[in-house]
């Protein structure tokens, strides 16, 4: 049975292409559905981590606390840290918050200048309105001070 004349490579390849495209599209729809269902815009809060340059800081982990409650403690692999250095931005936390005032505290640990263990924090108070709230934890190098700098940007 199996060595009956097989379909030609191109015909099958084109079908596989079409199939993969359909699965990729379905994945996108599922991804959007999941986000809209679990994290509706009126309560959604998303926290991102970005890094620029990285000459004075090698990232090991980030801890995120919202309203004094730890919501994320993330340990980075070398591959992930490298992806951040290349310009990737990580969505470290996606959750829900009520409308109103909140506070986010982030702690960054890693190796600082001269390979020293380094731990720093940054805080932001923010208003959660009816739309999704995006916050960016930014790690940048401050050349004049030869130190890394940690900031939180509210994307309003």
């Amino acid at each position: 049975m199996p060595d009956a004349p097989a379909a030609d490579f191109k015909t099958l390849d084109q079908e596989v292409q079409g199939m993969k495209k359909d699965v990729i599209d379905l994945n996108k729809d599922l991804f959007v559905l999941q986000e809209e269902l679990l994290f509706p815009a009126n309560t959604q809060v998303a926290v991102y981590v970005s890094m620029d340059v990285g000459a004075f800081f090698a990232l090991d982990s980030v801890t995120v606390k919202i309203d004094n409650k730890e919501v994320k403690n993330y340990l980075y692999t070398a591959r992930e840290a490298e992806a951040l250095l290349k310009g990737g931005v990580q969505e470290i936390y996606l959750g829900n918050l009520k409308v109103g005032k909140h506070e986010l505290v982030a702690f960054f640990t890693g190796k600082g200048p001269v390979e020293r263990d380094y731990k720093r924090g940054a805080t932001i108070s923010f208003d959660k309105g009816v739309g999704a709230k995006y916050l960016e934890l930014k790690i940048t190098d401050r050349v004049p001070k030869h130190q890394p700098e940690f900031k939180i940007k509210d994307w309003d």
Binding site: D3, L12, D13, K21, I24, L30, V32, Y48, E91, Y134
Partner: protein, 639 residues
């Protein structure tokens, strides 16, 4: 002929494809400061968080997650500042997932617009490469011809080389020869160009012209394993071309250049033997052929040596040894045919591909994936040749990707089941809360509250206007003031009673003190009352807002939950349909690859059968000859 060259291309493509393409694309979520600015200027900001998120997965080679997030971000309008680069990246991601048709569509749409020439060139170039590898030769040529000459010399050289190889695959030898003659490129690519040129010339019957390029490659000094293999291959090609042209004396030294421990040594040993044999040197021919006969019978050159060794013995007049070797060959071919039959049966059982992919890392999808090792199974020994073919590798990649897609859908199915539970729970919570909410809403008359607030404010205004200080007094003050008023009223009704004169005087004093006290705190009290009115107003507005939200939620919740349920049901149906299609396509892909493998094995079996027939025929001829000799030698019987 060009397998070595093709493999070289495949490996050279591997690390280059996307990184190369993306070097040309402005893919960074931010315009990074490559070197820290000595003046300490602030770093550039991220332009779109969601684009950065896509890149985070992309830079980890997780192309599937990356493309999912990119498509979602695009649908949700989250890439306002990175639209153009996101589209190019999307094309690149499709390409890296082997979706060359979709990638081609995106590139064609984008690259005909105002994209820079550098980006355009690279995109067309990599698309052309992928199409070449997948065997879409016309599409590949069209893409490669879109690349202008304003491109890095190395890429330009590769582009011309790909075009030439493409022509060779299409047997357009004259076009290939013209392209390769005009080709200029970096030194490590020159050997491939020369080799391909020589082969094309041989194929068109122009051996004299082919000698120079093939000889040049055959003499090159190199330590690279890849180039050493190419050198062997050039010597083999030239050697056999000379043998075919009956120039055995010229062929022999060239075939002897092939390394004895290289992948082409068996064919070279066979060729050297044939060269000796063509020169009538059968004893000398036995040296390489006997060496070859000790090797693995899987190799077609070794199989042929099972015939050439007795052939040489026979030509040397040692027919007894020749017969012995033919007999042994027939037995060996029999055993080998049996093994091939068993392997074909194994493959027909349908588990070949799954066994091939047993050790495969299952969590990644990359365009450059290739199976490098075969499982330790009897049929594996026959499949190495198959593994070197693009057709099988690309087919296997497709089969593997279909499996990945199927696992991906299985994972989502679990999530969807959780979504359904969640929606049920939400609906249940809604059903429980609605009666309580309705009761609270019914008991709350917001309009009456609003009216009360207005009345209250009017009353405050009146008090202020009439300077009615007692109205804002403490309850005790108001109580005392009322008493004073009552006494005052009584005194007013008895104006001439002399006994009340003293009381009248005392009341006047008490009233004056009381009024003075209340007047003193009047402004502060008035301010407090106004503040209360404002607070009341704010609370009322908030309550009204909440009431609207509750009303909306009450009305919206069923349709919201319902809308989600409809979406979940719809994607579930799509998933079912896709799973069915995936299973069917996967099965067809399996059958296709199985058929390829079986075809390969059957070709080997047929070759062995031909050799076996030949061996039997030669053996019969030897016996016939021996019988004739015996007949001739036998003294005639006396009449």
């Amino acid at each position: 002929m060009t397998r070595v060259a093709v493999q070289h291309f495949i490996y050279s493509l591997r690390p280059l494809l996307l990184s190369g393409l993306l070097l040309a694309l402005p893919v960074h979520a931010w315009a990074k400061n490559v070197k820290p600015d000595p003046d300490g200027l602030p770093p550039q900001d991220v332009k779109d968080l969601h684009y950065g998120d896509v890149l985070f997965y992309f830079y980890q080679d997780d192309f599937f997650d990356s493309i999912t997030r990119l498509l979602a971000a695009r649908e949700l309008d989250r890439l306002p500042n990175t639209q153009g680069e996101a589209e190019l990246l999307l094309g690149g991601l499709y390409l890296s997932l082997g979706e060359h048709v979709e990638a081609g569509n995106i590139f064609e749409k984008l690259l005909n617009t105002n994209t820079s020439e550098a980006v355009r060139n690279k995109a067309w170039f990599y698309l052309g490469k992928v199409w070449y590898q997948r065997g879409y030769l016309q599409e590949s040529e069209r893409a490669l011809r879109q690349v202008s000459d304003k491109i890095q010399p190395r890429i330009s050289a590769e582009r011309y080389m790909l075009l030439a190889q493409l022509m060779l695959r299409e047997e357009r030898y004259d076009d290939a020869i013209a392209a390769l003659n005009a080709w200029h490129g970096p030194p490590d690519w020159t050997a491939y160009a020369q080799f391909n040129l020589g082969v094309a010339l041989v194929r068109t019957g122009r051996l004299p012209q082919a000698i120079a390029p093939l000889d040049q490659v055959g003499r090159m000094d190199t330590s690279s394993e890849e180039l050493l293999a190419l050198r062997d291959k050039a010597n083999l090609a030239l050697g056999f071309a000379l043998l075919q042209a009956e120039r055995a004396a010229d062929a022999r030294p060239i075939l002897e250049r092939v390394r004895l421990d290289g992948p082409y040594s068996s064919k070279a040993l066979l060729g050297v033997g044939w060269a000796d044999s063509a020169l009538g040197e059968f004893k000398r021919a036995l040296v390489p052929w006997l060496a070859l006969r000790k090797r693995n019978l899987l190799d077609s050159a070794v199989q042929e040596s099972y015939l050439t060794v007795p052939y040489a013995y026979n030509r040397l007049g040692a027919s007894g040894q020749a017969a012995e070797f033919y007999n042994s060959a027939i037995d060996s071919f029999d055993a080998e045919r049996q093994r091939i039959d068993e392997s074909i049966e194994q493959i027909r059982s349908g588990t070949l591909l799954d066994r091939l992919l047993t050790d495969d890392r299952k969590d990644t999808l990359t365009w450059y994936w290739q199976l490098k090792t075969l499982p330790d199974a009897p049929e594996s020994r026959y499949l190495y040749q198959l593994l070197a073919s693009n057709e099988f590798q690309e087919g296997l990649k497709n089969y593997r990707e279909l499996n990945y897609m199927s696992r991906n859908l299985d994972n989502w199915r679990e999530s969807l089941s959780a979504f359904n539970d969640m929606l049920d729970t939400r609906q249940q919570a809604y059903d429980e809360r609605v009666p309580k909410t309705d009761a609270v809403m019914a008991a709350t008359d917001l309009d009456a509250l609003a009216k009360k607030r207005v009345d209250f404010e009017s009353r405050i205004n009146e008090i202020e206007k009439s300077n009615e200080v007692a109205a804002l007094g403490t309850p005790k003050e108001q109580h005392d003031w009322a008493r004073i008023k009552r006494i005052d009223d009584y005194l007013t009704t008895h104006p001439d009673d002399p006994e009340l004169a003293d009381l009248r005087e005392r009341l006047r004093l008490v009233k004056g003190v009381m009024y003075w006290r209340m007047s003193e705190g009047f402004k502060a009290r008035l301010w407090n009352e106004r503040r209360s009115v404002k607070e009341l107003e704010a609370s009322l507005v908030e309550t009204q807002k909440r009431a609207v939200l509750v009303k909306q939620a009450r009305q919206g919740m069923p349709s919201n939950t319902g809308a989600f349920s409809v979406r979940v049901t719809a994607v579930n149906a799509r998933m079912d349909q896709l799973q069915q299609r995936l299973a069917a396509l996967s099965e067809r892909q399996n059958r296709y690859l199985q058929a390829l493998a079986i075809r390969q094995l059957q070709a080997q079996k047929q070759r062995i059968e031909v050799y076996q027939i030949q061996a039997r025929y030669e053996l019969a001829a030897i016996y016939d000859k021996a019988a004739d000799k015996a007949t001739q030698a036998k003294p005639k019987a006396e009449p």
